[in-house]
């Protein structure tokens, strides 16, 4: 995605907000992706056991959270002083979030 600069009324760059919104969408989607990968591949499943009593869920969520925070940090560093077009960014983030919710639903996840 290459967001274009947009004007704003208050003078506060939109980049920081756009980075937070998009990172949240990506982070939520990654929860589903890591869960799906751990469910489909035994090798990944065993790798994802960071804390044995919790099992693969510990690694799935830790990896997704780490990726979310890293994405947020990188996007924020790149966009914080820029005005970013909010419409495409928030739409992409919302699509990723909805996909994340759907892909964690077992009957849908089992289609893959």
């Amino acid at each position: 995605m290459s967001p274009t600069a947009s004007r704003n009324d208050s003078g506060v760059p939109t980049g920081g907000g756009a980075a937070a919104v998009l990172a949240a969408g990506i982070g939520s989607f990654l929860v589903a992706v890591f869960a799906l990968l751990a469910d489909k591949f035994a090798a990944i499943k065993s790798t994802m056991i960071f804390y044995r009593p919790t099992g693969p869920l510990s690694g799935v969520t830790t990896c997704a959270l780490a990726a979310w925070l890293a994405t947020w940090f990188i996007l924020h560093a790149r966009w914080r002083n820029r005005s970013v077009a909010l419409a495409p960014v928030s739409t992409a983030a919302l699509v990723l979030l909805i996909l994340g919710v759907l892909l964690t639903f077992p009957p849908i996840a089992d289609l893959f």
Binding site: N8, V60, V101
Partner: protein, 190 residues
């Protein structure tokens, strides 16, 4: 009247944090809509801003406490494997659910969905709190950003509702029990 430590902690996870988060979501949605809506001509006061920042931060803390206690305290008890030859599965909720076709779906669909989708709630609300901190009353000038936050809070409410519903139903069919028994009140004679 007695309760076990595992029941008490499960109650704290589900009611203390989960249900509290669900209730708080409606407040956040109303406040975000009311204070930053285009229909509201007056800019939010500093007091309003501080209130909303505090409120969203508290929600984020509650959401993180809900998922972390769920994943690292309750879930290990739920998924504990019984020693071979165990007949009474009451202390092993996951195995108890899977032992019967009439309850196995509570694990294979309910818990499998809940344990992952619940994490989207703290991610969404942390984002909402961070944006509120960053923009404050300027959010009024960015309806697209405000709408994005509102949608994320709506979906965090949905995610928390899914987790709450399945958590309650799973605990009804196969309660997490065990640990020390705490005597709350001495009951009267029947």
């Amino acid at each position: 009247m007695e309760i076990t430590t595992r029941s008490l902690l499960t109650l704290m996870h589900g009611v203390g944090f989960g249900a509290l988060y669900l209730m708080a979501c409606s407040g956040a949605l109303v406040e975000l809509y009311r204070r930053y809506g285009a229909h509201n001509a007056a800019p939010p006061s500093t007091r309003d801003e501080v209130f909303l920042r505090t409120y969203l931060t508290a929600m984020a803390i509650v959401a993180w406490l809900a998922v972390l206690t769920g994943a690292y305290i309750i879930y290990p008890w739920y998924r504990a494997a019984p020693p071979s030859g165990t007949v009474d599965l009451a202390a092993f909720p996951q195995r108890l659910l899977l032992a019967s076709p009439s309850t196995s779906g509570w694990h294979s669909i309910g818990m499998e969905w809940k344990e992952h989708v619940a994490w989207m709630a703290p991610i969404c609300i942390t984002m909402a709190a961070a944006v509120e901190f960053q923009y404050g009353h300027h959010l009024k000038s960015y309806p697209q950003l405000r709408n994005a936050i509102l949608r994320f809070v709506w979906i965090s409410l949905l995610a928390a509702a899914v987790a709450g519903f399945f958590g309650a139903m799973i605990n009804k069919n196969a309660p997490v029990e065990g640990g020390t028994t705490i005597h709350l009140v001495q009951g009267g004679r029947p």
